[in-house]
C-alpha cells in the first residue's frame, strides 16, 4: 500500500495495524505513511476507522496487533506522553480542553513552565501562549477561561496547543468543523508554513473541496481498511468519492414494488428548544404510511437523532403532536410510547442499544419481557422460543444466546437491537444510522430486513448520513438541516445534487462547497 513520496522523507509508517474493540473491529491490517513536509489527507465515511488510526499514531489507543516505525526504528506508544515525546501532536475531533482552566493553562497542560519551587510561571506561559495565538492571527486573551470561549475559538486554542508542542507530525482530526471560513483560511496559511518547516501534517476532513485544495497525498479508508492511496495531483473529487463508497461493495435490495397502506404515523410541529436559544428540532412535521420507508438525510447536528428522541418521549421539554393510525399519542414517556407501537434503534449501539454485560437473549427480550410472563413469572420456555425465532428470522450469529452480547461482532449486536425493537410488535420503526459501524455482510442483512418489514406493513423512518444509502433504500427522502426539514423528495424526483443542496441550507460556509457533504 506504500507509494513513492517523491523525494520527501517518510516520518512515520504504520504497518498492518489491527484494532479490535469488544463487538467490533475498527481497523483491519491498515498500513499508512506520514510524509514530512506535506499534507497527508485521510478520508472515509463515518466509522471507516480514520479517527481510530489517528489515535493509534498519537498513542491514545494501543493497537491489538501490527507495528509502528519511526525513522526506520520500531516504536511502541504506551501512552499519549510517549507519542508527544516523539514529536507527535494532535488536534482532536472532540475538543480535549479543560473548560475550567485558562487558555494559557490549557496550552501548557502537563508541560507547565515553572520557576523551580516557585511554581508555575503564569506570566511567561501567557506570553508564550500569546505568540502562538498571534501565529494563528487571533487576539484571544490567554488569561480567559476556555469555557467562556465560543466553540470556534476553542478549536483555535486546541490548534495552538498542538503548535506549542513543536510537533514533527501534526494530526488534525476535522479541525475546521467549527471554524468560520476566515478562520479556515488562517489555518491553511499556518499549515503551509508548517509544511515548509518539514512538519508532516495528517489531515482528516469530510469537506472534500478543502482536501483537494491543501492535500499532497490522499489515503482513503473504508470499513476499517485502506482502499486507496494516491498523490492528490493525480486525482479529483469524484475519484475520491468512488473509492470511499467502493463502487460495487454495497448490496442494496431492490424495492419489491408493494403498495403503501394508509398513514400509520404522523408527527406534527415537533420542537425541541436549544439551551442557548433557538431550536434543535425546529417545527418538524412528517408522516409515514404503512409499508413505506422514509429516509431522513442530513449532516451531523442537523437534529435528526433529536427528532427521533422527541418521538420516543426522551425529551420532556419538547413539544409536538403525534398520531399513530390517526389516533393521538398521549403517553408522555418512553414506556408508554413503546406500548403504543413505536420502537427506536438508537444510533449509539454501545451506549444506548445494548446492555453489554447481559446475555444475548436477555438483551433481545428486554423491552418485551412482559409478553413472556404469566402474572409476574417469566416463562423460560416461551422466552427461549421467542429468542430462537428471532435468531432465525434475522440470521443472527448466536449459537449460545446465554453469552454476553459484548462477545458479538458489531453487526450481530445491531441485529440484537433490531430484534429487541421488533419483539415489542411495533407499528412504526425508527432507525437511527442502522448501518453505522457494521460490516458489509451485516449491512446487507439489515437492509434486507428493512425491506421485508416494510413489505409486512411496518412504517419505517430511518436516519442516515450516507447519501447512497438514503437514495437506494427510501421511498421518500426528507432532508434536514439546522433542525428543520428543508425539503421532502419522492424517490423518483430525488437526485444526489438536489439532496446535498437541501442538506446545506442554513449552513454558513457549507453552502459554499456543496459537495462537502458528509458522504
Amino acid at each position: 500500500m506504500s507509494m513513492d513520496p517523491g523525494g520527501l522523507p517518510i516520518l512515520l509508517s504504520v504497518d498492518r495495524v489491527t484494532k479490535a474493540y469488544p463487538g467490533m473491529q475498527a481497523l483491519t491490517e491498515v498500513s499508512f505513511d506520514v510524509v514530512g513536509g506535506a499534507v497527508n489527507v485521510l478520508v472515509g465515511e463515518n466509522g471507516a476507522g480514520k479517527s481510530t488510526l489517528m489515535k493509534v499514531i498519537a498513542g491514545v489507543v494501543l493497537p491489538t496487533s501490527g507495528r509502528i516505525r519511526m525513522d526506520g526504528k520500531e516504536v511502541t506508544f504506551a501512552s499519549r506522553d510517549d507519542a508527544i515525546a516523539q514529536g507527535i501532536g494532535m488536534v482532536f475531533q472532540e475538543l480535549n480542553l479543560f473548560p475550567n482552566l485558562s487558555v494559557a493553562e490549557n496550552i501548557f497542560i502537563s508541560r507547565e513552565v515553572t520557576r523551580g519551587i516557585a511554581g508555575i510561571d503564569k506570566r511567561e506561559q501567557e506570553r508564550r501562549a500569546r505568540t502562538y495565538l498571534q501565529q494563528l492571527e487571533t487576539d484571544i486573551d490567554p488569561a480567559t477561561l476556555v469555557g467562556d470561549l465560543p466553540i470556534g475559538e476553542q478549536q483555535i486554542v486546541e490548534i495552538a496547543k498542538a503548535l506549542a508542542q513543536d510537533a514533527r507530525i501534526l494530526i488534525m482530526d476535522e479541525p475546521t468543523s467549527a471554524l468560520s471560513s476566515a478562520e479556515t483560511e488562517v489555518l491553511f496559511r499556518v499549515i503551509g508554513e508548517l509544511k515548509t518547516h518539514g512538519v508532516g501534517i495528517v489531515y482528516i476532513s469530510h469537506r472534500l473541496e478543502e482536501l483537494v485544495r491543501i492535500g499532497n497525498f490522499v489515503t482513503i479508508m473504508r470499513d476499517g481498511r485502506v482502499t486507496g492511496r494516491e498523490r492528490m495531483a493525480n486525482v479529483d473529487v469524484s475519484w475520491i468519492i468512488r473509492q470511499m463508497i467502493g463502487g460495487d461493495a454495497k448490496d442494496f435490495p431492490k424495492p419489491d414494488g408493494h403498495s403503501f397502506g394508509t398513514e400509520v404515523f404522523r408527527a406534527e410541529d415537533v420542537t425541541l428548544p436549544r439551551v442557548s436559544g433557538g431550536y434543535k428540532v425546529d417545527h418538524v412535521s412528517l408522516s409515514v404510511r404503512s409499508g413505506e420507508i422514509v429516509g431522513i438525510y442530513g449532516l451531523m447536528g442537523a437534529g435528526r437523532s433529536e427528532f427521533f428522541e422527541c418521538i420516543m418521549g426522551r425529551h420532556p421539554h419538547s413539544n409536538g403532536r403525534y398520531f399513530i393510525e390517526g389516533k393521538a399519542v398521549r403517553e408522555r414517556d418512553v414506556t408508554g410510547r413503546i406500548r403504543r407501537g413505536l420502537a427506536l434503534i438508537p444510533e449509539d449501539r454501545q451506549r444506548e442499544g445494548v446492555v453489554p454485560i447481559l446475555s444475548i437473549g436477555t438483551n433481545m427480550t428486554l423491552a418485551s419481557i412482559g409478553r413472556f410472563c404469566s402474572l409476574f413469572h417469566i416463562r423460560p420456555d416461551r422466552e427461549r422460543a421467542a429468542i430462537a425465532a428471532s435468531v432465525r428470522d434475522l440470521s443472527i450469529k448466536a449459537p449460545y444466546p446465554d453469552l454476553p452480547v459484548s462477545s458479538m461482532s458489531g453487526g450481530n449486536q445491531q441485529k440484537v437491537v433490531i430484534a429487541k425493537a421488533l419483539m415489542t410488535n411495533p407499528k412504526v420503526l425508527l432507525m437511527d444510522e442502522p448501518s453505522r459501524g457494521i460490516d458489509v455482510g451485516a449491512k446487507a442483512d439489515v437492509f434486507r430486513t428493512m425491506r421485508r418489514l416494510a413489505a409486512d406493513g411496518l412504517g419505517i423512518l430511518f436516519v442516515t448520513s450516507d447519501l447512497e444509502e438514503v437514495m437506494a433504500l427510501s421511498d421518500r427522502i426528507a432532508v434536514m438541516s439546522n433542525g428543520r426539514i428543508t425539503q421532502i423528495f419522492e424517490r423518483e424526483d430525488a437526485t444526489a445534487d438536489a439532496v446535498i443542496a437541501a442538506s446545506a441550507i442554513g449552513h454558513g460556509h457549507t453552502t459554499a462547497s456543496s459537495k462537502s457533504a458528509n458522504l
Partner: protein, 354 residues
C-alpha cells in the same frame, strides 16, 4: 487463597458455558475452604449447635446484604441501612414501651404484629426517601444515603434522648406481649432469624432471576440509557430497590432488638460496611449490572465463618479485622484479574474472526 485457583480460565478456545460455571463456583470454593480449614483447625467448629449459632449471626448480615445486593446491581449504594437498623429498633421499642401518645389524654398501644408492620413500613419509607433523593433530586447515591445515615441515627438518638428502651416484653393488660419470639423463638427447630433469611433469600433470588423486575434491575445497572430506551421505568426500579433495602434493614432492626429484648439507639453502626463486604465477596460488581443473590448469601457466610472461626481458634479480634479486610481486597483483585483475562480472550477472538 483458594479463590484464585479458579480464576485461571482456559486461554485458548472461548468456551462460554464452562467459563461462566467457573465464575459462579468461585465463591463456593472460598466457602468450602473456610469450612474445611476451621473444621480441622478449630475444635467443635462443626457441631450442630455451633452451626446454628454461626448461622444466626450470619442471618442478620445476610438479610441486610440481600437489600444491598439489588441496590449495588443497579449501580447504587445504600449507606443508611446501619442507621435504619438502629432507628427501627427504637421505633419498635418505643411502640411497645410507650405506645403513641395522641395528646388527647389517651395513648394507643399496638400488638406485636402491628408493631412489626409499622416498623417495616417506616423502613420502607426511609428507603423511599433515599430513592426520591436519588431519582428526583439527582443526588449521588453515596451522598444521599450518607445524609440519611446521619439523619436516621440522629432520630434514633433523639427518640430516647440516647437512652436504651429495655425489657421489651410487653404487658398483659395492653395485649402486646410476645416480641422476644422473633429473636429467641424457633420454628421446626430452627431459629426464626434463619427462617427469615431463607424465606427472604428465596424471594429475592426468585425476583432476581424469574421476574421482569429482576431483569429490569440488572438492565438498569448494566446500561441505564439503554434500559430507559427499552421502555424500562428506570426511576421506579431504583425506588423499589432502595425501598427493599430499607425493608431489610427494618427487619434486622426488629430481630436485634427482639434478641436483646431491648432497643439501643447505637445498634447497627457500620453494619452497612459488613453488608457491602458480603455483597462484593459474593461476586457482585460495584459498577452495577452483575451479581447474584446466592453469591451474596455465600459471601455473608464466608465473612461470618471467618470471624467466628478465628474467635474459636483464639485469634485476637484485632487480627480478625485485618484478615477480614484482606479477604475482601483479595476477592475483588481476583475478580478484576479474571475479568481482564476474559476480555482479552474475547478481543483476540474478535480480531481473529474478522
Amino acid at each position: 487463597m483458594s479463590a484464585s485457583v479458579t480464576a485461571r480460565r482456559p486461554s485458548g478456545g472461548f468456551n462460554g458455558s464452562i467459563g461462566l460455571q467457573l465464575l459462579k463456583l468461585r465463591t463456593f470454593i472460598a466457602l468450602f475452604a473456610v469450612v474445611i480449614f476451621f473444621g480441622i483447625a478449630a475444635p467443635n467448629f462443626a457441631s450442630a449447635a455451633n452451626v446454628i449459632l454461626i448461622s444466626k449471626q450470619v442471618a442478620i448480615n445476610a438479610i441486610l446484604s440481600l437489600g444491598m445486593t439489588f441496590v449495588i446491581i443497579t449501580g447504587g449504594i445504600d449507606l443508611s441501612i446501619g442507621s435504619v437498623v438502629g432507628l427501627s429498633g427504637m421505633v419498635a421499642g418505643g411502640l411497645i414501651l410507650h405506645g403513641i401518645d395522641t395528646g388527647l389524654g389517651y395513648t394507643i398501644y399496638f400488638n406485636v404484629v402491628e408493631t412489626c408492620v409499622i416498623t417495616l413500613i417506616i423502613g420502607v419509607l426511609i428507603g423511599a426517601i433515599n430513592g426520591w433523593l436519588i431519582t428526583k433530586l439527582n443526588v449521588a447515591p453515596f451522598i444521599a444515603t450518607l445524609g440519611v445515615l446521619y439523619v436516621a441515627r440522629g432520630a434514633a438518638l433523639l427518640s430516647s434522648n440516647g437512652d436504651t428502651f429495655s425489657n421489651l416484653v410487653g404487658r398483659p393488660e395492653l395485649g402486646n406481649q410476645g416480641f422476644p419470639f422473633l429473636g429467641a423463638g424457633t420454628i421446626l427447630g430452627l431459629p426464626v432469624v434463619i427462617w427469615g433469611m431463607i424465606v427472604l433469600g428465596l424471594i429475592a433470588a426468585y425476583a432476581a432471576t424469574r421476574t421482569p423486575l429482576g431483569r429490569h434491575i440488572y438492565a438498569v445497572g448494566g446500561n441505564e440509557r439503554a434500559a430507559g430506551l427499552s421502555g424500562i421505568r428506570v426511576n421506579r426500579v431504583k425506588m423499589i430497590v432502595y425501598m427493599f433495602s430499607g425493608f431489610c434493614a427494618a427487619a434486622v432492626g426488629l430481630v436485634i432488638s427482639s434478641q436483646l429484648v431491648a432497643a439501643q439507639p447505637a445498634t447497627g453502626e457500620s453494619f452497612e460496611l459488613t453488608a457491602i463486604a458480603a455483597v462484593v465477596l459474593g461476586g457482585t460488581s460495584m459498577s452495577g449490572g452483575r451479581g447474584t443473590i446466592g453469591g451474596t448469601i455465600i459471601g455473608a457466610f464466608v465473612i461470618g465463618i471467618l470471624s467466628e472461626g478465628l474467635v474459636m481458634m483464639g485469634v485476637s479480634t484485632f487480627w480478625q479485622i485485618v484478615v477480614k479486610g484482606l479477604v475482601i481486597i483479595l476477592a475483588v483483585v481476583v475478580d478484576q484479574a479474571q475479568r481482564r483475562l476474559q476480555q482479552r480472550v474475547v478481543l483476540t477472538q474478535v480480531a481473529k474472526a474478522a
